[in-house]
């Protein structure tokens, strides 16, 4: 029972950055643009968070910085894809390369370090102890004591759902994603919706980065996103762009990440096997979904 609670707690903690960035992915998917740059945006957010938190001695400042920086870079992405009509995938990959290079470069230039920047006094997103929550049997142990962004991530799933399916801007985003000529002839500004969705996806990616660097660990290490942006993308494919199934996929992947960490500390298992686990699982999951879809048709 202890272990289940512990693992579930860890699952939630690992899933939170995934959920945050995946919600960003949901928006871009719904507007019809696959955002391959989620990984890079998250990384930039993580770095900006640490930078700002260090300079201004505030985790809150760090979080805001993360959001702003990620939004800035997603605008770059939007510029090249929407204005210059460059290929979506290519620009996404380019942004990822840029993010990696820029963060490593700045790490060296600003902090004279390589590898990781972990100042001892870096303010982190301190875990919230919500009174009353802890008292609930089982669930309390799982839900209580997380960094505030974990709660934000869960809330975000619900908000995303409501926004997309109940509000007018959400309707417009879905219309643009489905058939942009039809939306255009109804007078909706297609670029405006696309920019909106992309900015939101940038903001959430930044938030995810902040959770990663300030919420879990209070440091920045090179390439610390390590494929999470792509995992989130996989989750979006899994959920076909709908917030709830996507979030579910994130929880699933978070579970495997949590599992992976536990297995690493077990003696006797080479650490690389558990490290491989989440990635292999994702490939498997996507294959199984496609398999089932194919069977359905047959």
């Amino acid at each position: 029972m202890e272990t289940i609670v512990n693992i579930s707690f860890a699952m939630l903690r690992m899933a939170a950055p995934l959920i945050l960035v995946a919600m960003g992915g949901v928006f871009s998917q719904q507007v019809g643009l696959i955002n391959i740059a989620l990984e890079g945006l998250m990384l930039l957010g993580a770095f900006a968070a640490v930078l700002a938190a260090f300079a201004l001695h505030s985790a809150l400042a760090g979080t805001f910085a993360a959001i702003l920086v990620a939004m800035l870079f997603v605008l770059l992405f939007a510029l090249f894809v929407l204005r210059f009509r460059a290929n979506l995938v290519v620009v996404g990959l380019a942004v990822n390369i840029l993010a990696l290079g820029l963060t490593k470069y700045l790490l060296q230039v600003l902090f004279a370090t390589r590898g990781a920047f972990a100042p001892t006094d870096l303010p982190g997103l301190l875990p919230l102890d919500i009174p009353g929550l802890r008292a609930i049997p089982i669930l309390g142990g799982i839900l209580s004591g997380h960094s505030p962004l974990v709660y934000v991530s869960l809330l975000l799933v619900i908000l995303t759902h409501i926004f997309l399916y109940r509000t007018i801007p959400g309707l417009h985003i879905r219309a643009v994603g489905e058939k942009d000529d039809a939306a255009k002839s109804a007078g909706i500004s297609v670029p405006r919706m696309q920019y909106l969705a992309l900015i939101l996806s940038g903001a959430f990616s930044g938030l995810a980065g902040a959770q990663l660097s300030l919420g879990n660990l209070q440091l920045f290490s090179e390439n610390m996103t390590n494929g999470r942006g792509f995992m989130a993308l996989a989750a979006v494919y899994f959920g076909r762009g709908r917030p709830l199934p996507t979030a579910f996929a994130c929880l699933l992947f978070g579970f495997f990440e949590a599992l992976q960490i536990r297995l690493q500390t077990r003696v006797g298992i080479p650490p690389q096997w558990p490290q491989m686990l989440p990635f292999a699982i994702i490939v498997l999951t996507l294959s199984l979904i496609s398999l089932r879809q194919a069977r359905h048709k047959a």
Binding site: A94, P270, W273, S290
Partner: protein
């Protein structure tokens, strides 16, 4: 016909040069903002890259794996498959070549070398078949699967040299050395430039030949240009996708094998500074053509080569080069787009004539 080709080459080169200049300007801005002397930096860059025979050799050395990974990516892209998994093929191909090199040592003379190279290509190809099959048969998006599988390949090979094939007593995770006759001969000592460069050049020729003169090449590029049309004409998507991935994976594996057999003489965990990903940049810069890839790879090789010295001499992190590369990619694709947009505007106008 030759005149057409020359004009096309001329345009390509101009385009690449222009893009490069834009990127250099941006790089200069970043350097100035970080308090470095950009002009001095570029001087060092050029002299390190092309300043003398040895320097050129080093540039070509750095370019070699990029040529191969660039070709690997380009072949797939032309067939319409976004293979972002060349890094994975590279790692597994590298390990396979190393394994043959230190295990099958009883093979005589050059046959060990050939076997090792083949092993690299075959394993790299096989690895790429996995996402290829998933896409061809199940329609699973290849971007996500290939990226995920990269991580799997990197961790897996790391496991291999940390456990079953670890060399006792060594601090770093690496495999045993390959036998002497599995090593690729050096071309210009003391530079590490070796015959893998020759292999890469051959690959460039082979790819140019493939796409212009063979039925397979025709099939791949026509399918890539309009898969629906290709199906109506009788081409089989599964066959095309698998063939594209096979070639792509083989080239990626060869890139890894080249590094192992030509430079390190053993497999070192995490040895690749992202050759596979850089291959994407090179392919994009070279617009997926064989010659473009060659040019682009040499360019990036020069940047890398020079970048290492920049780091040493002016304390400018190597990553600046990455930033330059990303900028280059962005501008290359934007350029495509601007020309395409202009063309599109003209054709939509004529379409609506009713």
């Amino acid at each position: 016909m030759i005149r057409d080709t020359l004009i096309a080459w001329g345009r390509e080169t101009l385009r690449i040069v222009f893009t490069l200049l834009t990127a250099l300007v941006i790089g200069a801005v970043i350097m100035w903002l970080s308090g470095k002397d950009a002009i001095a930096a570029y001087k060092i860059l050029i002299s390190t890259a092309f300043g003398g025979r040895l320097e050129i050799a080093d540039t070509l050395l750095t370019a070699t794996p990029l040529i191969l990974t660039g070709l690997a990516t380009a072949v797939a892209f032309r067939a319409g498959v976004f293979n972002v998994g060349v890094e994975g093929s590279l790692y597994l191909g590298a390990f396979a070549a190393a394994w043959v090199g230190f295990t099958l040592t009883s093979l005589p003379g050059p046959s060990l070398l050939i076997a090792a190279l083949l092993a690299g290509a075959i394993v790299g190809a096989a690895w790429a078949l996995i996402p290829g099959y998933l896409k061809a048969r199940l329609g699973v998006d290849e971007i996500v699967t290939t990226i995920m599988l990269n991580y799997v390949a990197i961790y897996f090979t790391s496991y291999l040299v940390n456990y079953p094939f670890a060399v006792p007593g060594l601090a770093n995770a690496m495999s045993p050395l390959v036998a002497a006759n599995a090593k690729l001969p050096r071309l210009l000592p003391p530079s590490q430039l070796n015959s893998s460069f020759v292999l890469a050049l051959l690959a460039v020729l082979a790819m140019a030949f493939l796409f212009s003169r063979t039925a397979l090449g025709y099939e791949l590029r026509v399918y890539g240009s309009n898969p629906l049309f290709a199906r109506w004409s009788g081409m089989r998507p599964t066959s095309v996708i698998l063939k594209a991935m096979l070639i792509s994976g083989a080239l990626g594996g060869l890139a890894g094998a080249g590094q192992v057999l030509g430079v390190n003489y053993r497999f070192v965990a995490n040895f690749s500074p992202g050759y596979g990903f850089d291959g994407i940049a090179v392919a994009l810069l070279g617009r997926n053509s064989a010659w473009g890839v060659l040019l682009g790879a040499i360019l990036f090789g020069a940047l890398r080569s020079g970048g290492a010295t920049l780091e040493l001499m002016m304390d400018i992190p190597l990553e600046l080069i990455r930033i330059l590369e990303a900028t280059i990619i962005l501008f290359v694709t934007a350029q495509f787009a601007l020309r395409w947009v202009r063309r599109r505007r003209m054709s939509t106008a004529s379409e609506t004539a009713e």
